[in-house]
Amino acid sequence: MTGAPPPLLIFQVGPSRFAADAADVERIDPARAGPRDLVEASCLGAPSAARCELVVRGAASALAVDLVLGIREPAPDDLRALPELAAACLASSAVRGLVLLDGTPTPVIDLPTLVCELRPAGSAPEPGEPHHA
């Protein structure tokens, strides 16, 4: 990662906090705001209350989360690359790195990749979406 880090949207699924590039979120909707593809369970876990839905930019899908904690603009030093061993162990490629929030490492999630990985097999990924096996 080089340059100023982008603003990160901090959200919570279950007991865990995650971060995502704010630019990947088209908007934040309340729960059950409308009919669309809703990712309720993922490698991030399953939300307990699912109070909000993060509409992923360009994916026409939304990720159900329990809570949106806000937007942070981390310092460059707060961003960390994912260790190779950890990246090799992960089944999902949606986890792009770590960010230190108040000293706590928080996974940075690539939301388009995550919703793409969860799309049913055979459905073609949209252009620009990351591919993963």
Binding site: A23, P30, G70
Partner: protein
Amino acid sequence: MRESRELNPRRRPAAKPRRGAASRAPDHASLVAALQALGEGRYADVRLDMPERGPGREVALALQAAVERVQADLAAQARYADVVREGVSEAIDALVKLVVQGDLSGDLRLSVGDASLAPLVSGIGQIVHTLKRFVTEMREAALRLASSSEQVLAAATHSERSTTQQAGAIHETTATMEELKGASQQIAENAQMVATIAQRALSQTHQGESSIKSFMESMEKVRHNATEVDDAIGKLSRRVERIGTVVEVIDEIADRSDLLALNAALEGAKAGEAGRGFSIVAAEMRRLAENVMESTKEIKNLITEIREATHAAKEASDGNKRMAAEGEQLGAAAMGQVGGILSGIQETSDASRVIHLATQQQRTATEQVVQSMGEIEEVTRQAQSGSKQATAAAAELSKLAERLAELVKRFKVD
């Protein structure tokens, strides 16, 4: 008699003529003196000169003869008197001897032959006969007296013993009556005390009755207030629910405001440096929304607490209503029981008054009885003293009867 002895012509010859007077007639003075001496019974002083002849001599002789006759008669009377005196002495001696010896069994035999003493002898015989009859009757009377005196003594002794026992019994009765009087006094005092206590208990029970009435009124008020509280709690609960609904709306609005603020912040972040001011406003809005949500959360907590408190108050109110209803039931039961207690205490008070009055009458009667018993005891004491005196008198009478019998025994009548 003595005069007759002096006139005895054998011892003192009367009318002896003086020397030298025979030749002449007795003068008138000497005759008068002789007749006066004769009339006065001084036969020895009858001195008359005996003339030798003439009528004076006849007078002197006649006078002398008369003097001699008188003297002879006097001598005869003297002898007769001696005979009578001897007969009387003999009769009296015989009578005295008979009386002294006490032998009245035989007939009195006197040798008095003079007929003039026959009445005396007859009288003495009658005296002896009368004495014999008296002695016989006295003996019988003495025997009867001894027997009667013994009976009187026995009766007096028995009476004394009975009187003594009676006095003892009366004394014990008097003491018992004294104790009874004291007991009556004690009973009267206790009855008075019971009456006082019963009156006090009656007053207190009346107060208790008033208290129970007040209690029941209070219970009714409590029940009424509990109902009002219940209604108020219901209203409060409804208001709280309404507040909860409003808070839910506010919370939802805040939540959406928060979401909107988040989206605004998101857009601001996407806009980069140009959207920084927008992001600041969004952050402020989000902070406000969070504050609202925090406040609504507190309100919800408060509502929850109010609900719990309202529920507890509702339960307490229901409990109060139940307790008030039970209190009213208990008060009614207590009122009925107090009514019974009042009736019982009233009866006790009346009975204690009756007992007090009766014991006072009993005490008065007992005092009268004690007084009467005292008088009876005094009379009995006097009777006892009299009985002792009667016993002593009977004993003395018995002794006298024995003595009389012994004395009468001395007279032999059979």
